[in-house]
Amino acid sequence: MTGARRRLLPYLLVLPGGLWLVVFFLLPAVQLGATSLYDPAGSLTDGYEMTWAFGNYPDAIRTYWVHFVRSFWYAGLATALALVLGYPLAYVIALRAGRWQNLLLVCVVAPMFTSFLVRTLAWKAILADTGPVVGLLREVHLLAPDGRLLASPVAVVTSITYNYLPFMVLPIYASLQRLDRRLLEAARDLNARPVQVFRTVTFPLSMPGVVAGTLLTIIPAAGDYISAELLGTPREYMIGNVIDAAFLVRLDYPQGAALSVVLLLVILALTIGYLRRVGVEEVG
């Protein structure tokens, strides 16, 4: 009896989470897949018919491939920027900050206490035509006298970078924090200059954090639509804006669903390709 119970225990522990995922992830995913194959001639008022309309996919991609490309371009750029900004930050917090470590961590996370929307709107004020940033850039002639930042890719990418920076910093911080400092001493002892210590020991050992950070940044960034909505124009719209409009403005459910599925698959493929490339063995 106790033996049987012991064997059942792992399944019992998995049950609540499993049920949650079935109800709130698996079923919606199946529903989304089904919706993407509805007859595009249907409408919300007339109802949809399941006609296995695979043609929804080529149609959607043909119309909106530019937005896909733009999404991954912006997301990739923002991820690269977040890595460049976030790694040194995580490094300093984990290895150099001493007793300021916790305070700095709170500072990194603090923006998350306000809503995504508010933070993005704040950028609207910062990058406004009459704001300090534009003023300074015009002053030093990096921006034409009538040049602006709002309604440009710069503003959108800046906002995405900012919004997902903590997701880059925290995993890298965690892996650097776990780093055995004695390995760094051993490297110094074995004739490695500071730069070499970083290149040959610190950075390779922080790869799990870098991989987690880039994935946690690029995946939500690719689906982001608030930044483009608030700081861009339709010329900067990303695939998220298109899906948003398909569901809520044009009420073209099959197309919105098809675009969502494509986005999902592309992200999945990129993630798998990336993990293969950097080697999961290094990560483990």
């Binding site: 055995d180 004695r182 390995l183 001493e185 051993a186 490297a187 110094r188 002892d189 074995l190 004739n191 490695a192 200059r193 070499q196 040959t200 020991v201 390779p204 050992l205 290094e282």
Partner: protein, 388 residues
């Protein structure tokens, strides 16, 4: 070996390290002769690891100088020092295989072809064929060998070993001690080995420095330290000693006369570190012999009477505890040579020794970190009416 220089002489001059208000290493003067296997022996927290880290360049001295032969390296960055370390935790790089771990130092110095040297070194530590293993796939002993090879392959002028065998079990530790000694003889590099294990220090080292409270208590060969310790700390940290506190009462020819617990003892002048005032008279337990009555004590021997309170049979010897008339305990190791018969607990006996095996130390030489028996002996007034 590509014209590598042999081991260097390491010289520490007035080396001091303070952490905040704590002095870890206190004006340390020490010379390690070139090519020796040198042990820095001391209890944990005595400053021996800090000393090692300063030589490696991982810790900056508060004051003092470090010299390799005549070259001053005190302020050199660690990667510029011809010194390498075998760390206590090994600190092998988990993301690199054995080969790359060993090749690490060579590659950082821009050595082009490392294969030959790495393979030669792996074979020196008997790890041929393990090149592609990761550290996590190795046993503790194998990791230890990799750590050794990784440091030695750089042909350092001085190799620093920080309790390198501390994490190994006893049998493996004994085997690695033999290995270390062989390797040191083979490469001829100066080894500075930090340990708290006096047996390890004595087995391995040509020279031992006993360290306590940031200072060197005594420096010498294992035999010198054992046979004629300079301080009570050395006498009790390196092996065991019976220490009787007494007072010098005079001289008789080549002997110093000591009165302790109401009895007279003599010690040859050459065995006396102090010839006046309060002293500690020391005798090693294995130098004591047990007889039944005072009549059986050979002429010229010194004797103390007591009662056996404990006897532990250890195979090669039997260790007795003797309670003396004044309440102290003496320990006596009787070799199991088949000649002596076991003495039962509770029996009154007389322990005797030849004066040339005794030694005389100034009282209060133990610093403040002395071993318990010494403190107990210190607490006993010279008239022998001590408590306990």
């Amino acid at each position: 070996m590509e014209g590598a220089q042999p081991g260097a002489r390491l010289r520490l001059v007035e080396l001091t390290k303070r952490f905040g208000g704590v002095t870890a290493v206190d004006r340390l003067d020490l010379t390690v002769p070139a090519g020796t296997f040198f042990a820095l022996l001391g209890p944990s927290g005595c400053g021996k690891t800090t000393t090692l880290r300063m030589v490696a360049g991982l810790e900056e001295p508060t004051a003092g100088r470090i010299l390799l032969d005549e070259e001053e390296i005190t302020r050199l960055r660690p990667y510029r020092r011809p010194v390498n370390t075998v760390f206590q935790s090994y600190a092998l790089f988990p993301h690199l295989d054995v080969f790359e771990n060993v090749a690490f130092g060579l590659r950082r110095r821009g050595v082009r072809d490392v294969t030959g040297q790495v393979r030669a070194m792996l074979s020196l530590v008997q790890l041929d064929g393990y090149e592609r293993r990761r550290p996590a796939q190795l046993s503790g002993g194998q990791q230890q060998r990799v750590a050794l090879a990784r440091a030695l392959v750089n042909r350092p002028r001085v190799l620093l070993l920080d309790e390198p065998l501390g994490a190994l079990d006893l049998t493996l530790r004994r085997r690695m001690q033999v290995e270390l000694k062989r390797i040191q003889t083979e490469v001829g590099i100066t080894f500075v080995h930090v340990t708290h294990d006096q047996e390890e220090a004595m087995t391995l080292a040509d020279m031992v420095a006993v360290m306590n409270n940031g200072r060197i208590e005594q420096l010498g060969t294992p035999a010198e330290l054992y046979e004629f310790p300079a301080t009570a700390f050395v006498a009790t940290f390196l092996g065991r000693s019976n220490l009787l506190s007494g007072t010098v009462v005079g001289r008789a020819g080549e002997d110093v006369l000591v009165e302790a617990y109401g009895e007279r003892f003599s010690v040859p002048v050459v065995r006396a570190r102090s010839t006046a005032g309060a002293v500690l008279l020391g005798v090693r337990p294995e130098k004591l012999r047990l007889v039944a009555t005072a009549d059986e004590v050979p002429a010229g021997h010194q004797a103390v009477a007591g009662i056996v309170t404990d006897a532990a049979y250890l195979g090669t010897s039997t260790q007795y505890l003797l309670r003396t008339g004044w309440g102290d305990e003496l320990s006596v190791f009787a070799a199991a040579d088949g000649e002596t018969r076991p003495v039962p607990v509770g029996q009154a006996v007389v322990a005797h020794w030849h004066p040339r095996y005794a030694f005389l130390l100034p009282a209060g030489t133990s610093g403040d970190g002395s071993a318990a028996p010494v403190e107990a002996a210190d607490a006993v007034p010279a008239n022998g009416a001590g408590p306990r």
